[in-house]
């Protein structure tokens, strides 16, 4: 399947929107008004957008702590995210959950969570329900290379493969789990996508910074899942630019080199695609600028609305427990 012009432009715009928002948030974060530990996806937009663009609205996604991009790519409202970070009632989790607990039923963002690997099983559960209902829906589990080490990863893949449930596992391998490289966490000699084969799953590694490649791989994967053949595993190689949690850079922390970060920044998925599209004449500098402006306006507006909307009422502290 080829990618249409419309599709490719929409992939680019989707990434741009996430990037602009996260960069703005990272800046604003330092005003200390967003009081919620935040894991930025800057640099990793291509997997989120590539995967989610290949889904239908009725499909559902789950994510982990680094979830902003997934939420937005699947169609979660921008104000819901911004409002959540500012702890407002207008936030997607009504200010109760914070940055790591995003949800938006309407667009199929069911839940993200801050416990490593937790939602991998939950996504399998939704997919199981879909298959029991003979529905065409697919569930996606986004997780990092670090979550792969948790026992629940193993239990979940085993169950999914056994029951052939329509779940797409998407591992965003950004080489690190907090400050620990893969080398100190997983045995050498085998890649993550190959491990999935131990469960009789089809699996594949893609360049996680090539949004078109991710998109196409996902289309094939989702078709596999939707047709009742069971789960599929996709590994996207990508890289986190900023610190693990928080808005800053951490070139100098010692766990990675500045050269490494810069190398990956040079492979920025947005830069890459926009340069290519400009080269190919599929969009113009002017268009890009206009998009950026539109997005910035949307963001600025959301921030204004979020900041001027009410906090949850302290009277409602207990509400929602049951």
């Amino acid at each position: 399947m080829g990618i249409s012009k419309e599709e490719i432009l929409s992939l680019l715009r989707g990434m741009l929107r996430i990037r602009c928002l996260e960069e703005t948030l990272a800046e604003r974060y330092q005003e200390q008004e967003m009081q919620t530990p935040t894991h930025f996806s800057i640099g990793q937009e291509a997997t989120a957008v590539g995967v989610c663009s290949a889904l239908e609205q009725q499909d559902v996604i789950y994510s982990g702590h680094r979830c902003h991009a997934h939420y937005l790519a699947k169609g979660g409202p921008l104000l819901g995210l911004v409002g959540e970070l500012y702890g407002r009632e207008v936030g997607c989790a009504r200010g109760r959950g914070g940055s790591v607990h995003l949800t938006d039923a309407g667009s199929g963002v069911i839940a993200s969570s801050a416990i490593l690997g937790q939602t991998i099983a939950v996504a399998v559960g939704s997919a199981w329900a879909f298959s029991l209902d003979h529905s065409r829906r697919v569930a996606v589990a986004f997780f990092g290379d670090g979550a792969v080490e948790e026992g629940i990863f193993h239990e979940s893949l085993n169950f999914a493969a056994l029951h052939k449930v329509p779940v797409l596992f998407v591992c965003e391998n950004n080489l690190y789990s907090t400050h620990s490289s893969l080398a100190v966490r997983q045995p050498a000699g085998i890649q993550i996508y190959e491990r999935a084969r131990a469960y009789s799953l089809p699996s594949r590694q893609v360049d996680g910074n090539d949004v078109a490649a991710v998109f196409q791989a996902t289309r094939e994967a989702v078709e596999w899942c939707r047709s009742g053949r069971g789960p599929y595993f996709l590994e996207g190689l990508t890289y986190r630019w900023r610190e693990h949690v928080g808005p800053l850079w951490d070139y100098d922390a010692g766990y990675r080199t500045k050269a490494e970060v810069e190398e990956w920044m040079a492979r920025c998925p947005i830069k890459r695609l926009s340069e290519q599209l400009l080269r190919d004449g599929l969009c113009s500098e002017g268009e890009l600028r206009r998009w950026r402006e539109e997005i910035q306006q949307e963001i600025a507006h959301a921030i204004v609305v979020a900041k001027s909307s009410p906090f949850p009422s302290v009277q409602c502290l207990l509400e929602g427990t049951y």
Partner: protein, 344 residues
């Protein structure tokens, strides 16, 4: 009314609820085998087969998550654990996700998952197959936690669980499984947070959790022979706990003994004693007493195991002490203890 055994009541509730709600599924190790989880899932499997009753791989943590994920899109999974001790493996999903889901995501809908865990007892079940985790579960807001002690309650609380919208943990003591009692035909829910007065009395209140509610009732028989009228209360659920029923009783009796199947420290008995100290202080005429497990893991060797579990006589003795009767003056206590064989 018909009489059913405890396990039959659970089975009946399950089948009836599944008939009423096609979204209910059962999942657990061996729920479809010839033993049918001590009979409790056999009826459902016979009636609904493999499309709704699922044997599963050994994966406690993922299974809890899978149940949550199915619940998030409309199913009502009932997950059964042959021993509640295996649920330690699933606690992350239960506490860090199911219990917090509705609050943490600010949603209207929670995840209605029901976990049944069976508590082993006797015949050398040993340290890892006979714990009673009610206090551990009930400490965390967002769950309902109950431990039915009669066939009727086993049915009614399971019906409540399968019809409600809150994640529920039900703990069932294996020693109660053959107990028989009146059980209504209709699947009528018993609300969580509503205790039951097993017998009325004015002299002393005995609150017993799970199997200990049953044992407390036996203890009250013995006390009755001495002219002491104990009020026996089964809280039925630990979260929410029916404080009202306990305090109302205390108001009458002024004396409290709490019996539990787990350890004293930070356990069910501690919570009831705390409620008394906090809200029933004005009624209390004597110190509260906790009857619980000795502070050690469960041993296997028969004499140790026998000494490990509190008996009705342990409760009787505690009541007499609270009432400051002379224990030795109660004639024939030893005999009664020896005669008692219980439902195990």
């Amino acid at each position: 009314m018909r009489r059913l055994k405890y396990w039959q009541a659970i089975s009946e509730a399950t089948v009836q609820c599944m008939e009423g709600d096609p979204n209910i599924l059962i999942a657990g190790i061996g729920v479809d085998d010839h033993k049918g989880m001590f009979g409790t899932t056999r009826g459902a499997f016979q009636r609904f087969g493999r499309s709704r009753v699922f044997d599963i791989p050994n994966c406690e943590n993922a299974m809890a998550g899978i149940a949550i994920g199915a619940a998030a899109v409309g199913k009502r999974p009932l997950v059964v654990h042959p021993r509640n001790d295996f649920m330690f493996l699933a606690m992350d999903q239960i506490f860090n996700l199911a219990a917090k889901w509705k609050y943490m995501y600010g949603t209207q809908a929670g995840v209605p998952v029901v976990f049944r865990g069976i508590v082993g007892r006797g015949w050398g079940q040993g340290a890892t197959h006979s714990q009673s985790l009610q206090a551990t579960f009930a400490h965390f807001p967002g769950l309902h936690v109950a431990a039915p002690a009669s066939p009727a309650d086993a049915k009614g609380l399971l019906v409540s669980a399968l019809q409600g919208s809150t994640p529920v943990v039900l703990l069932e003591n294996r020693a109660l499984y053959e107990l028989e009692g009146d059980v209504a035909e209709a699947p009528t829910p018993i609300p969580f947070g509503q205790g039951r007065i097993i017998r009325e009395g004015n002299d002393i209140t005995i609150v017993g959790a799970s199997l200990m509610a049953y044992e407390a009732d036996r203890a009250a028989d013995i006390l009755g022979e001495k002219g002491i009228r104990a009020e026996v209360i089964d809280p039925r659920s630990m979260r929410p706990l029916d404080e009202r029923i306990i305090l109302d009783s205390l108001r009458k009796t002024g004396h409290l003994v709490v019996a539990d199947t787990s350890w004293a420290a930070y356990g069910f008995a501690a919570e009831v004693a705390a409620v008394a100290a906090e809200k029933g202080f004005a009624f209390l005429k004597a110190p509260v007493r906790r009857i619980t497990l000795p502070d050690c893991p469960a041993p296997v060797s028969e004499p140790l195991e026998k000494a490990f579990h509190p008996s009705p006589m342990t409760i009787v003795q505690a009541c007499l002490e609270v009432l400051q009767s002379e224990v030795s003056s109660v004639r024939g206590l030893r005999d009664v203890q020896e005669r008692f064989t219980g439902p195990y």
